[in-house]
Symmetry: C2
Subunit: 272 residues, 2 copies
């Protein structure tokens, strides 16, 4: 499975962001990616005062363009996230997933909202303008099941565990850690979620933009089921593309059977 | 809270191992440690064919000596682990915990047994000669609650989570990763369990002995609730002592309220 991760710059101009996505897909098409992942909030500056203004309903302009691009390039498109507006006026941080024909095969609304207030560091209260989702997202592909969550969702070991118990062999995470949490926690979070669940983890972030009100750490990352970094970017915009073999999941689980060794006679993570 | 971690060599001679513990406690007494942690299987070579031969009942010779030492040096002694035999003939990998008066205030029997068979790496089937425990171990001290688990228990995010939900602000883990799993997973496991639960984690391992049938990775480690390494040893025998402030747990939880942000309306880890 050839997986591409696009660490793009995010501009205030929505059209420009969509053109950027198309340009990346055009540039990488000779490499034949099967799966392409965009960053969190790839067509809206990561600023809580702008989420509503930039939001669109499902089936809107951005959605339609993404569907068209998935079909045009015959890829599974895990379309980062955008602010999604619903009739009742609420706004979600939502990731749409399209298959090679451009059909939506799943969507994820960020479940855990990022409310943080670090002394001398970052303050960001996402829940002031966003509503949290409530569903686990796992989709079927020709390669096997793939789970999706968004950024802060990765902080909660329960969520990755539930995705892997639902059969996900890859967990894709559009995210945007910042310059406080990024250097401290980004890499080890992706490595340990991969390792604990023996899945591939895929973190895709916007490129760093020092003029933005929220500075993304970038560092898009791909980790193996053994917790090993397969590839990793720095702060700049660009993309990486890697060929991964999902059979590695079964191989690692055979050698170090962590999921089997869970003491389900003593504890269990229950969905409600 | 001054916490000492003893990364000792383990000899085939039980008496010698107990003398070593006493020597370390004598050497560090001017530094006034409050809590002292020994490694997993500190008085039995880590060899599954020897666990039964080296095993003792609770209250036996090793237990008595440890109790005596805790009282003599007025320390909380988290006494690594030893093979514990029970009347029915079963053997557990057990850690005893003593208070400053030498009273046993808790004990932990390793819950997750280490059965691994890595291609071109380590093979070790602990469950062939050991019986797994079933209880969560959290003890009260004058500093607050401290949780204890043993080595492979750290692989399971559910277990650390349950300990922290029971109030543990420090999770102590006598362990002995090997030269395959150690370099790959030891550090990130301690960092992410600390980070996810916003507790201190304390890994204490035997020193490396290249002639042993099982080669310990050593690398005893102390990690803050922010996931930062406070101190770390290498392969050699010796000890480290650090002064930690358990108020840091509350400070980190205030700034980045991960435990509060769990979506307990959607999932919960249930004990059975």
């Amino acid at each position: 499975m050839k997986i591409a991760q696009i660490q793009m710059k995010v501009y205030p101009d929505k059209e420009k962001n969509l053109k950027e996505v198309e340009m990346y897909l055009e540039n990488m098409k000779e490499e034949n990616p099967d799966v392409v992942v965009l960053p969190e909030m790839f067509n809206c500056p990561y600023d809580k005062t702008l989420f509503e203004e930039y939001s669109e309903e499902e089936g809107g302009k951005t959605w339609s363009k993404l569907s068209e691009l998935a079909e045009k390039y015959s890829i599974y498109l895990f379309a980062g996230s955008i602010p999604e507006k619903v009739d009742s006026g609420e706004v979600y941080n939502t990731s749409y997933i399209f298959d090679r024909k451009g059909n939506q095969i799943g969507k994820h609304r960020k479940v855990h909202l990022f409310d943080i207030d670090i002394e001398g560091g970052q303050t960001f209260i996402e829940s002031e303008t966003l509503t949290p989702g409530k569903d686990l997202t796992v989709v079927d592909t020709e390669f096997g099941k793939i789970g999706l969550m968004i950024c802060y969702d990765i902080r909660f070991p329960e969520w990755s565990r539930l995705l892997s118990l639902k059969g996900a062999k890859v967990i894709i995470v559009p995210g945007a850690f910042n310059m406080t949490t990024g250097p401290a926690h980004w890499e080890i979070s992706f490595r340990v979620r991969a390792l604990d669940n023996q899945v591939f983890t895929v973190g895709t972030a916007p490129a760093q933009d020092k003029e933005a009100s929220y500075t993304s750490y970038g560092n898009s990352i791909l980790v193996s089921p053994w917790g090993k970094i397969i590839d990793r970017m720095s702060f700049e915009d660009g993309y990486i593309i890697n060929d991964i073999d999902l059979r590695e999941v079964e191989e690692v689980r055979k050698q170090l059977p962590l999921l089997k060794h869970r003491r389900t006679d003593l504890y269990e993570i229950k969905e409600k």
